[in-house]
Amino acid sequence: MSEHRCDITLTVNGETVAETVDARKTLVDFLRDDLILTGSHVGCEHGVCGACTVRVDGDVVRGCLMLAAQCNGARVETIEGVSDGGEIADLQTAFEQRNALQCGFCTPGMLLTAQELLASGQVPSREKIREQISGNYCRCTGYHAIVDAIESVAQARAGHKP
Protein backbone atom coordinates (compact mmCIF):
# COMPACT_ATOMS: atom_id res chain seq x y z
CA MET A 1 0.00 0.00 0.00
CA SER A 2 1.21 3.46 -0.74
CA GLU A 3 -0.74 6.59 -0.13
CA HIS A 4 -0.53 10.33 -0.35
CA ARG A 5 -2.35 10.42 2.98
CA CYS A 6 -1.17 8.23 5.84
CA ASP A 7 -2.83 7.22 9.10
CA ILE A 8 -0.38 7.45 11.97
CA THR A 9 -0.61 6.68 15.67
CA LEU A 10 2.22 7.80 17.89
CA THR A 11 2.88 9.20 21.31
CA VAL A 12 3.81 12.86 21.59
CA ASN A 13 5.03 13.96 25.00
CA GLY A 14 3.44 10.86 26.50
CA GLU A 15 0.01 11.32 24.94
CA THR A 16 -1.28 9.04 22.21
CA VAL A 17 -2.10 10.89 19.01
CA ALA A 18 -3.88 9.43 15.98
CA GLU A 19 -4.02 11.58 12.85
CA THR A 20 -4.15 11.37 9.10
CA VAL A 21 -1.32 13.32 7.49
CA ASP A 22 -0.04 14.16 4.04
CA ALA A 23 2.80 11.80 3.16
CA ARG A 24 4.94 14.82 2.36
CA LYS A 25 4.41 16.53 5.72
CA THR A 26 7.57 16.77 7.80
CA LEU A 27 7.50 15.86 11.46
CA VAL A 28 8.10 19.44 12.58
CA ASP A 29 5.25 20.78 10.44
CA PHE A 30 2.98 18.09 11.87
CA LEU A 31 3.92 19.04 15.41
CA ARG A 32 3.48 22.75 14.80
CA ASP A 33 0.49 22.86 12.46
CA ASP A 34 -1.57 19.85 13.53
CA LEU A 35 -0.72 19.59 17.23
CA ILE A 36 0.02 23.32 17.80
CA LEU A 37 3.27 22.44 19.56
CA THR A 38 5.11 25.51 18.33
CA GLY A 39 8.18 25.22 20.54
CA SER A 40 9.96 23.35 17.75
CA HIS A 41 10.91 25.92 15.16
CA VAL A 42 11.21 25.82 11.39
CA GLY A 43 14.39 27.43 10.15
CA CYS A 44 16.27 26.25 7.11
CA GLU A 45 14.16 23.17 6.26
CA HIS A 46 17.18 21.27 5.01
CA GLY A 47 18.86 20.02 8.14
CA VAL A 48 21.45 22.72 8.65
CA CYS A 49 20.17 25.00 11.42
CA GLY A 50 18.89 22.65 14.13
CA ALA A 51 15.93 24.84 15.14
CA CYS A 52 13.50 21.94 14.54
CA THR A 53 15.31 19.48 16.84
CA VAL A 54 13.01 16.99 18.58
CA ARG A 55 13.45 13.54 20.08
CA VAL A 56 12.21 10.40 18.39
CA ASP A 57 12.44 7.17 20.37
CA GLY A 58 14.92 8.86 22.69
CA ASP A 59 17.32 10.27 20.08
CA VAL A 60 17.54 13.88 18.95
CA VAL A 61 16.68 14.23 15.26
CA ARG A 62 15.96 16.95 12.74
CA GLY A 63 12.21 17.50 12.66
CA CYS A 64 12.53 18.76 9.08
CA LEU A 65 14.37 15.63 7.87
CA MET A 66 11.81 13.11 9.05
CA LEU A 67 8.31 12.70 7.69
CA ALA A 68 5.36 12.54 10.04
CA ALA A 69 4.39 9.38 8.14
CA GLN A 70 7.61 7.74 9.35
CA CYS A 71 6.61 8.28 12.97
CA ASN A 72 3.83 5.71 13.11
CA GLY A 73 4.43 3.86 16.37
CA ALA A 74 7.17 6.24 17.46
CA ARG A 75 7.66 8.06 20.75
CA VAL A 76 8.14 11.75 20.00
CA GLU A 77 9.19 14.30 22.59
CA THR A 78 9.27 18.03 21.99
CA ILE A 79 10.63 20.89 24.04
CA GLU A 80 7.15 21.32 25.58
CA GLY A 81 7.17 17.80 27.02
CA VAL A 82 10.80 17.74 28.03
CA SER A 83 10.60 21.09 29.82
CA ASP A 84 7.24 20.36 31.49
CA GLY A 85 8.66 17.09 32.81
CA GLY A 86 11.44 18.97 34.63
CA GLU A 87 14.22 16.96 32.99
CA ILE A 88 16.10 20.05 31.84
CA ALA A 89 15.04 22.60 34.47
CA ASP A 90 18.66 23.14 35.53
CA LEU A 91 19.75 23.64 31.92
CA GLN A 92 16.97 26.16 31.32
CA THR A 93 17.94 28.08 34.45
CA ALA A 94 21.60 28.11 33.42
CA PHE A 95 20.70 29.40 29.94
CA GLU A 96 18.71 32.23 31.51
CA GLN A 97 21.32 33.12 34.11
CA ARG A 98 24.21 33.13 31.66
CA ASN A 99 22.43 34.96 28.86
CA ALA A 100 22.71 31.88 26.67
CA LEU A 101 19.70 33.07 24.70
CA GLN A 102 18.50 36.34 23.31
CA CYS A 103 15.75 35.91 20.73
CA GLY A 104 15.20 32.31 21.75
CA PHE A 105 14.63 30.89 18.27
CA CYS A 106 17.44 28.33 18.57
CA THR A 107 16.93 27.62 22.27
CA PRO A 108 14.58 24.60 22.16
CA GLY A 109 16.95 22.82 19.77
CA MET A 110 20.00 23.86 21.78
CA LEU A 111 18.48 22.53 25.00
CA LEU A 112 17.53 19.15 23.54
CA THR A 113 20.89 18.77 21.78
CA ALA A 114 22.79 19.70 24.95
CA GLN A 115 20.69 17.35 27.06
CA GLU A 116 21.61 14.41 24.82
CA LEU A 117 25.30 15.09 25.50
CA LEU A 118 24.77 15.60 29.24
CA ALA A 119 22.63 12.48 29.59
CA SER A 120 25.82 10.41 29.54
CA GLY A 121 26.63 11.82 33.01
CA GLN A 122 30.17 12.80 31.98
CA VAL A 123 31.58 16.31 32.12
CA PRO A 124 32.43 16.96 28.48
CA SER A 125 35.26 19.24 27.38
CA ARG A 126 34.32 22.64 25.97
CA GLU A 127 35.52 21.37 22.61
CA LYS A 128 33.16 18.41 22.84
CA ILE A 129 30.28 20.73 23.79
CA ARG A 130 31.03 22.92 20.76
CA GLU A 131 31.11 19.86 18.54
CA GLN A 132 27.78 18.64 19.93
CA ILE A 133 26.04 21.98 19.25
CA SER A 134 27.83 22.51 15.91
CA GLY A 135 24.59 21.61 14.13
CA ASN A 136 22.52 24.18 15.99
CA TYR A 137 22.85 27.74 14.75
CA CYS A 138 22.51 30.70 17.09
CA ARG A 139 22.62 34.13 15.46
CA CYS A 140 22.51 36.13 18.74
CA THR A 141 24.91 34.89 21.36
CA GLY A 142 28.16 33.98 19.65
CA TYR A 143 27.91 30.60 21.42
CA HIS A 144 30.30 31.32 24.32
CA ALA A 145 27.46 31.79 26.80
CA ILE A 146 25.76 28.63 25.56
CA VAL A 147 28.93 26.60 26.05
CA ASP A 148 29.31 28.17 29.52
CA ALA A 149 25.75 27.23 30.45
CA ILE A 150 26.07 23.63 29.26
CA GLU A 151 29.45 23.22 30.95
CA SER A 152 28.18 24.59 34.26
CA VAL A 153 25.22 22.18 34.24
CA ALA A 154 27.49 19.25 33.41
CA GLN A 155 29.69 20.15 36.37
CA ALA A 156 26.76 20.70 38.71
CA ARG A 157 25.18 17.39 37.78
CA ALA A 158 28.49 15.64 38.40
CA GLY A 159 28.58 17.19 41.87
CA HIS A 160 31.26 19.80 41.22
CA LYS A 161 30.94 23.10 43.08
CA PRO A 162 30.30 26.09 40.81
Binding site: V60, S134, G135
Partner: protein
Protein backbone atom coordinates in the same frame (compact mmCIF):
# COMPACT_ATOMS: atom_id res chain seq x y z
CA UNK B 1 10.17 25.05 1.12
CA UNK B 2 7.87 22.04 1.30
CA UNK B 3 8.23 18.89 -0.79
CA UNK B 4 6.11 18.23 -3.88
CA UNK B 5 3.38 15.67 -3.21
CA UNK B 6 4.44 12.04 -3.19
CA UNK B 7 3.09 8.72 -2.01
CA UNK B 8 4.70 6.87 0.88
CA UNK B 9 5.00 3.13 1.30
CA UNK B 10 6.69 1.24 4.07
CA UNK B 11 8.44 -1.79 2.60
CA UNK B 12 7.78 -4.97 4.56
CA UNK B 13 10.72 -6.88 3.10
CA UNK B 14 13.52 -6.52 0.57
CA UNK B 15 11.39 -8.30 -2.03
CA UNK B 16 8.56 -5.89 -1.30
CA UNK B 17 10.90 -2.90 -1.74
CA UNK B 18 12.14 -4.24 -5.09
CA UNK B 19 8.54 -4.89 -6.16
CA UNK B 20 7.58 -1.34 -5.25
CA UNK B 21 10.56 0.03 -7.21
CA UNK B 22 9.00 -1.48 -10.33
CA UNK B 23 5.84 0.60 -10.11
CA UNK B 24 5.07 2.06 -13.49
CA UNK B 25 3.62 5.34 -12.28
CA UNK B 26 6.84 7.29 -12.04
CA UNK B 27 10.06 7.71 -10.23
CA UNK B 28 10.37 5.91 -6.92
CA UNK B 29 13.12 6.54 -4.37
CA UNK B 30 14.29 4.49 -1.42
CA UNK B 31 14.17 6.22 1.96
CA UNK B 32 16.88 5.09 4.39
CA UNK B 33 18.00 7.69 6.94
CA UNK B 34 16.63 10.50 4.79
CA UNK B 35 19.23 13.02 5.92
CA UNK B 36 20.18 13.90 2.34
CA UNK B 37 17.04 12.76 0.52
CA UNK B 38 14.48 14.68 2.59
CA UNK B 39 16.60 17.83 2.38
CA UNK B 40 16.56 17.55 -1.42
CA UNK B 41 12.78 16.95 -1.34
CA UNK B 42 12.26 20.04 0.82
CA UNK B 43 14.35 22.06 -1.62
CA UNK B 44 12.48 20.47 -4.55
CA UNK B 45 15.76 19.42 -6.09
CA UNK B 46 14.14 16.00 -6.23
CA UNK B 47 10.45 15.19 -6.73
CA UNK B 48 9.82 11.45 -6.75
CA UNK B 49 6.28 10.07 -7.09
CA UNK B 50 6.84 7.44 -4.42
CA UNK B 51 9.04 7.10 -1.36
CA UNK B 52 9.74 3.53 -0.27
CA UNK B 53 10.67 3.51 3.38
CA UNK B 54 13.25 0.82 4.23
CA UNK B 55 13.10 1.48 7.97
CA UNK B 56 10.66 -1.33 8.74
CA UNK B 57 12.67 -4.13 7.12
CA UNK B 58 14.34 -6.43 9.63
CA UNK B 59 17.92 -7.65 9.26
CA UNK B 60 19.30 -4.67 7.33
CA UNK B 61 21.12 -3.11 10.30
CA UNK B 62 23.97 -4.37 12.42
CA UNK B 63 27.72 -4.86 12.51
CA UNK B 64 29.43 -8.24 12.38
CA UNK B 65 33.05 -9.36 12.11
CA UNK B 66 33.56 -12.63 10.30
CA UNK B 67 36.30 -14.17 8.14
CA UNK B 68 38.53 -11.12 8.70
CA UNK B 69 35.87 -8.88 7.20
CA UNK B 70 33.67 -6.28 8.89
CA UNK B 71 30.15 -6.40 7.55
CA UNK B 72 27.94 -3.38 8.14
CA UNK B 73 24.23 -3.61 7.36
CA UNK B 74 22.99 -0.85 5.09
CA UNK B 75 20.52 0.56 7.63
CA UNK B 76 23.11 0.83 10.41
CA UNK B 77 22.95 4.41 11.72
CA UNK B 78 26.09 6.51 11.90
CA UNK B 79 25.58 6.92 15.65
CA UNK B 80 25.33 3.15 16.14
CA UNK B 81 28.61 2.64 14.27
CA UNK B 82 30.21 5.44 16.29
CA UNK B 83 29.36 3.59 19.53
CA UNK B 84 30.43 0.19 18.21
CA UNK B 85 33.47 -1.46 19.78
CA UNK B 86 33.79 -3.64 16.67
CA UNK B 87 34.08 -0.56 14.43
CA UNK B 88 36.63 1.06 16.77
CA UNK B 89 38.78 -2.06 16.79
CA UNK B 90 38.34 -3.59 13.36
CA UNK B 91 37.40 -0.60 11.18
CA UNK B 92 39.49 2.27 12.60
CA UNK B 93 39.28 4.32 9.40
CA UNK B 94 35.47 4.36 9.62
CA UNK B 95 35.78 5.31 13.30
CA UNK B 96 38.03 8.26 12.38
CA UNK B 97 35.65 9.46 9.66
CA UNK B 98 32.30 9.17 11.46
CA UNK B 99 32.64 12.22 13.75
CA UNK B 100 33.11 14.39 10.64
CA UNK B 101 29.72 13.40 9.23
CA UNK B 102 27.04 16.02 9.86
CA UNK B 103 26.07 16.55 13.47
CA UNK B 104 24.81 14.46 16.38
CA UNK B 105 21.16 14.65 15.29
CA UNK B 106 22.06 13.81 11.68
CA UNK B 107 24.17 10.82 12.76
CA UNK B 108 21.28 9.52 14.86
CA UNK B 109 19.25 9.03 11.67
CA UNK B 110 21.71 8.82 8.79
CA UNK B 111 22.70 5.34 7.62
CA UNK B 112 25.99 4.01 6.28
CA UNK B 113 24.26 2.30 3.37
CA UNK B 114 22.38 5.46 2.48
CA UNK B 115 25.58 7.47 2.44
CA UNK B 116 27.31 4.99 0.12
CA UNK B 117 24.27 4.67 -2.17
CA UNK B 118 23.78 8.44 -2.40
CA UNK B 119 27.49 8.79 -3.27
CA UNK B 120 27.87 12.49 -2.67
CA UNK B 121 31.31 13.30 -4.12
CA UNK B 122 32.23 15.26 -1.00
CA UNK B 123 31.05 12.61 1.49
CA UNK B 124 33.41 10.78 3.82
CA UNK B 125 32.22 7.17 3.72
CA UNK B 126 32.45 6.50 -0.04
CA UNK B 127 36.13 7.53 0.11
CA UNK B 128 36.72 5.35 3.19
CA UNK B 129 35.22 2.35 1.43
CA UNK B 130 37.44 3.01 -1.59
CA UNK B 131 40.56 3.43 0.58
CA UNK B 132 39.84 0.16 2.35
CA UNK B 133 39.14 -1.78 -0.83
CA UNK B 134 35.69 -2.67 0.47
CA UNK B 135 32.77 -4.23 -1.31
CA UNK B 136 29.08 -3.56 -1.61
CA UNK B 137 26.26 -6.12 -1.46
CA UNK B 138 23.32 -5.39 -3.73
CA UNK B 139 19.99 -7.15 -4.13
CA UNK B 140 17.93 -6.57 -7.25
CA UNK B 141 15.19 -8.23 -9.29
CA UNK B 142 17.65 -10.83 -10.59
CA UNK B 143 19.15 -11.68 -7.22
CA UNK B 144 22.22 -10.79 -5.20
CA UNK B 145 25.57 -9.52 -6.36
CA UNK B 146 28.68 -7.98 -4.85
CA UNK B 147 30.52 -5.01 -6.37
CA UNK B 148 34.02 -3.87 -5.42
CA UNK B 149 34.33 -0.28 -4.20
CA UNK B 150 36.75 0.42 -7.08
CA UNK B 151 33.92 -0.38 -9.53
CA UNK B 152 30.97 1.07 -7.59
CA UNK B 153 31.27 4.84 -7.97
CA UNK B 154 30.54 5.66 -11.62
CA UNK B 155 29.88 9.38 -11.83
CA UNK B 156 28.29 12.31 -10.10
CA UNK B 157 25.70 10.73 -7.76
CA UNK B 158 25.87 7.71 -10.05
CA UNK B 159 26.79 4.23 -8.85
CA UNK B 160 26.61 0.60 -9.93
CA UNK B 161 23.11 0.48 -8.41
CA UNK B 162 20.39 -0.02 -11.00
CA UNK B 163 16.91 1.50 -10.75
CA UNK B 164 15.50 -1.58 -9.01
CA UNK B 165 18.50 -2.37 -6.81
CA UNK B 166 18.78 -2.10 -3.04
CA UNK B 167 22.17 -1.77 -1.33
CA UNK B 168 22.00 -4.20 1.59
CA UNK B 169 25.44 -4.18 3.21
CA UNK B 170 29.03 -3.04 2.89
CA UNK B 171 32.02 -5.20 3.74
CA UNK B 172 35.59 -4.17 4.41
CA UNK B 173 38.75 -5.98 5.43
CA UNK B 174 39.21 -5.99 9.21
CA UNK B 175 42.31 -4.07 10.29
CA UNK B 176 45.29 -6.33 11.02
CA UNK B 177 48.16 -5.54 13.39
CA UNK B 178 50.18 -3.99 10.59
CA UNK B 179 47.29 -1.98 9.14
CA UNK B 180 47.58 1.81 9.40
CA UNK B 181 44.83 4.28 8.57
CA UNK B 182 44.66 8.03 8.25
CA UNK B 183 41.88 10.55 7.76
CA UNK B 184 41.72 14.33 7.43
CA UNK B 185 39.50 16.88 5.77
CA UNK B 186 39.08 20.61 5.35
CA UNK B 187 35.60 21.98 5.84
CA UNK B 188 34.56 25.51 6.64
CA UNK B 189 32.51 24.45 9.67
CA UNK B 190 32.39 21.22 11.62
CA UNK B 191 29.89 18.87 10.04
CA UNK B 192 29.83 20.54 6.63
CA UNK B 193 30.68 18.58 3.54
CA UNK B 194 34.41 18.76 2.99
CA UNK B 195 36.10 21.16 0.57
CA UNK B 196 38.76 18.46 0.24
CA UNK B 197 39.22 15.27 2.23
CA UNK B 198 41.47 12.24 2.30
CA UNK B 199 40.93 8.72 3.61
CA UNK B 200 43.93 6.40 3.56
CA UNK B 201 44.94 2.88 4.41
CA UNK B 202 48.32 1.11 4.27
CA UNK B 203 50.16 -1.93 5.62
CA UNK B 204 53.40 -1.55 7.51
CA UNK B 205 56.13 -3.23 5.51
CA UNK B 206 59.42 -3.35 7.38
CA UNK B 207 60.21 0.28 8.17
CA UNK B 208 58.10 1.60 5.30
CA UNK B 209 54.57 1.36 4.01
CA UNK B 210 53.12 -1.08 1.53
CA UNK B 211 49.77 -1.35 -0.24
CA UNK B 212 49.07 2.36 0.23
CA UNK B 213 45.59 3.42 -0.84
CA UNK B 214 44.78 7.13 -0.89
CA UNK B 215 41.14 8.06 -1.57
CA UNK B 216 40.34 11.75 -2.00
CA UNK B 217 36.86 13.23 -1.79
CA UNK B 218 35.56 16.65 -2.77
CA UNK B 219 37.98 16.87 -5.71
CA UNK B 220 35.93 15.26 -8.49
CA UNK B 221 32.62 13.66 -9.39
CA UNK B 222 33.49 10.52 -7.46
CA UNK B 223 35.94 9.62 -4.69
CA UNK B 224 39.34 9.31 -6.41
CA UNK B 225 42.42 7.18 -5.80
CA UNK B 226 45.69 9.13 -6.10
CA UNK B 227 47.65 6.24 -7.55
CA UNK B 228 50.91 8.00 -8.45
CA UNK B 229 51.07 9.52 -4.99
CA UNK B 230 50.41 6.06 -3.54
CA UNK B 231 53.48 4.73 -5.36
CA UNK B 232 55.67 7.64 -4.23
CA UNK B 233 54.53 7.18 -0.64
CA UNK B 234 55.31 3.46 -0.85
CA UNK B 235 58.81 4.49 -1.99
CA UNK B 236 59.06 6.56 1.16
CA UNK B 237 58.97 10.16 -0.04
CA UNK B 238 56.16 12.38 1.20
CA UNK B 239 57.49 15.32 -0.85
CA UNK B 240 57.41 13.29 -4.06
CA UNK B 241 53.95 12.00 -3.18
CA UNK B 242 52.66 15.56 -2.77
CA UNK B 243 54.22 16.53 -6.14
CA UNK B 244 52.58 13.52 -7.79
CA UNK B 245 49.12 14.77 -6.79
CA UNK B 246 49.30 17.31 -9.63
CA UNK B 247 49.06 14.45 -12.11
CA UNK B 248 46.64 12.36 -10.03
CA UNK B 249 44.06 15.06 -9.37
CA UNK B 250 42.53 17.83 -11.46
CA UNK B 251 39.93 19.36 -9.16
CA UNK B 252 37.42 21.83 -10.57
CA UNK B 253 36.72 24.98 -8.64
CA UNK B 254 33.41 25.25 -6.85
CA UNK B 255 31.62 27.69 -4.57
CA UNK B 256 34.09 26.90 -1.77
CA UNK B 257 37.50 27.06 -3.47
CA UNK B 258 39.28 27.23 -6.81
CA UNK B 259 40.76 24.08 -8.31
CA UNK B 260 44.27 25.33 -7.56
CA UNK B 261 43.38 25.89 -3.90
CA UNK B 262 41.88 22.41 -3.68
CA UNK B 263 45.01 20.88 -5.17
CA UNK B 264 47.13 22.75 -2.66
CA UNK B 265 44.90 21.61 0.21
CA UNK B 266 45.11 18.02 -1.08
CA UNK B 267 48.88 18.24 -0.59
CA UNK B 268 48.50 19.63 2.93
CA UNK B 269 46.14 16.78 3.79
CA UNK B 270 48.54 14.22 2.32
CA UNK B 271 51.32 15.41 4.63
CA UNK B 272 49.02 15.13 7.64
CA UNK B 273 47.67 11.73 6.67
CA UNK B 274 51.11 10.36 5.77
CA UNK B 275 52.22 11.26 9.29
CA UNK B 276 49.23 9.38 10.69
CA UNK B 277 50.06 6.35 8.54
CA UNK B 278 53.65 6.31 9.76
CA UNK B 279 52.82 6.64 13.44
CA UNK B 280 53.72 3.66 15.56
CA UNK B 281 50.52 1.97 16.62
CA UNK B 282 50.22 1.66 20.38
Amino acid sequence: MKPSPFAYAKAKSLDHAIELLARPDGEARLLAGGQSLIATLNLRLSAPKLLIDLNGIGGLAGIAVKNDMVEIGAMTRHAEAERSADIARHAPLIALALPHIGHAAIRNRGTLGGSIAFADPAAELPACLLALGGEIDIVGPTGKRTVQADDFFKGLFETALGPRDVLTAIRLPAAANDTRVGFAEFSRRHGDYAMVGLAACAQVDGKGLGDVRLAYFGVGNVPLRAKKAETRLTEGSIDDAVKALASDLDPSGDVQATGATKLHLAGVLLRRVATQLMEVRS
